[in-house]
Structures are given as C-alpha cells and as structure tokens.
Amino acid sequence: MSINSTINALIADVLNLNEDEVNGELSPENTEYWDSMAHLTMVTAIEEECDVKLTMNDVQSIKCVDDIYQIVQKYMA
C-alpha cells in the first residue's frame, strides 16, 4: 500500500488537491485540474519517484487513478 500512498501524494501535488481527496475513482471527469498537461506532468513525477518507465500506450491507457496503481504495480513486480 505504500506505493499507492506515494502515488496519491504525487497526484495531489500535481492536481492541487488534499491527499485524502485522492482515491481510485479520481479521473479527468470529476476533477478540475486534470488536463492533458497535468496528465503528462503526473506521469513524469511518478516515473521519477517510483523509478519505472511507462510506454506511450500505458500513458494513453490511463483513465483514472486505479489504472495508474495497476500499471505501476505491473512494472514494480
């Protein structure tokens, strides 16, 4: 779970939210600041923090925070 909380902290930082507001269902539809630029900034931040490298397909397949958890865990495993 520690990875997920790190990811939550990064997402909260990029999207100007409190950390407890970030959950698995968070997506561009229900947040204010998640645009295509924030999407890329988020991916870069997560890559640096978790030491993973996502492909372009992974980046485009992210639709909500749950997808990020799954992709990062796939690469961490």
Binding site: M37, L40, T41, V43, T44, T55, M56
Partner: protein
C-alpha cells in the same frame, strides 16, 4: 544642442542601409514579394504578410507564411526549412545572430521568435541606446510551437519538441521534449 556630424563613414553607411530598408518596405508592393519568393524558393508567402525582401532570408520549398506575419531579416541570416507552416500573426526577427528553423515545423498563431537582446548594464543610458547582443535562435526539425509562445534569444530547441501555448523558451531544450511554462521546463519526453 549638439549638431550631428556625418563625418563618420560607418554612420553614413548605416544610414544608407536604413534608407534602402525603408525604401524596400515602402515601395515594393507585397504581391511582388509574394511572387519573388514563390519563383525563387517555391514557398507560399501571403500578400498580407510583411516579409523583408532580403538575400539573407531563405525559405524552403513548400513552406507557408500566413497573413499578418512580420519577418525581419535584413540584419542577419534567417533560414526556414522545407514544409514549415507559419500561422497568422507571427513575428520572426533575426538580428545579427540569425534564426534557423528546421523542416516540417508547425508554428501556431501569434508566436514570437526574437533573436536579439539589449544590454542594461549602464544606468545612465536609456536601454534602447545601449548595445545589442544577439546569440541567435536554432529550432530543430519537426517542432510544434503552440499559440502565443515566445522563443527568445539564445534558445536552442532540439528535434521533435512540442512547446505548449504561451510558454517562454530561452534555453536549451533536448530532443523530443514537451515544454511548458515560463521559464519553459520539460514536463514529459515523447516516446
């Protein structure tokens, strides 16, 4: 008031250059400029764009310069590659340092590319009378510059870069980066 003396030869030469520049800008009709660039380089310059008639301006085949653009290139070399599209309202100025734009670039509306800088180290002299410096601007191949972005003197932009709208870039940008903000920072790498 002190009279200006025209004894200095360089000053006379400078005035002559300015005069020919002004005469060309006033008396050469824009459709003639369009025709000259079309016949010389095979590029499409809008008759509503203000493009300097100068040997230092080289535009590649298939490039388009849209209306209301201003291209100043009498002081230094300006090289625009093949199939570059410059959208409406852009301002491109190559001072002595020169501006180089690679092939297949997309330049969106109201982009400013400035190749010179004023010095400001003397407090008692107005800045416009102080020396100008010019390091030049180099933009690589296949670069997409978003609307309203400013590219300032000394910028070196790599190939395949995306610059988001309203960014300000004056530094080195590596290949395939996506740049955002003022000062422009790399937020992502294309892969």
């Amino acid at each position: 008031m002190r009279r200006r003396h025209l004894s200095d030869r360089t000053e006379v030469y400078g005035i002559a250059v300015k005069l020919t520049k002004a005469l060309k800008r006033f008396f050469v009709p824009s459709f003639v400029v369009t025709a000259i660039y079309f016949l010389k380089y095979g590029c499409k310059v809008s008759p509503k764009a203000e493009v300097d008639l100068s040997k230092l301006l080289v535009i590649g085949k298939g490039s388009q310069i849209s209306s209301f653009c201003k291209i100043k290139s009498t002081d230094g070399p300006m090289t625009i590659g093949k199939n570059v599209s410059v959208a409406t309202g852009c301002f491109l100025s190559s001072s002595t340092g020169g501006v180089e734009i690679g092939d297949y670039c997309m330049i969106s509306p109201n982009v400013t590319i400035i190749g010179n800088n004023y010095r400001y180290d003397k407090l008692d002299v107005p800045m416009c009378l102080q020396e100008q410096t010019s390091k030049g601007v180099v933009i690589g191949r296949d670069v997409w510059i978003g609307a309203g972005a400013s590219i300032l003197d000394g910028a070196r932009i790599g190939n395949g870069v995306i610059i988001t709208p309203n960014s300000v870039v004056s530094a080195n940008i590596p290949d395939n980066a996506i740049v955002q903000g003022n000062p422009g920072k790399v937020i992502f790498k294309r892969r």
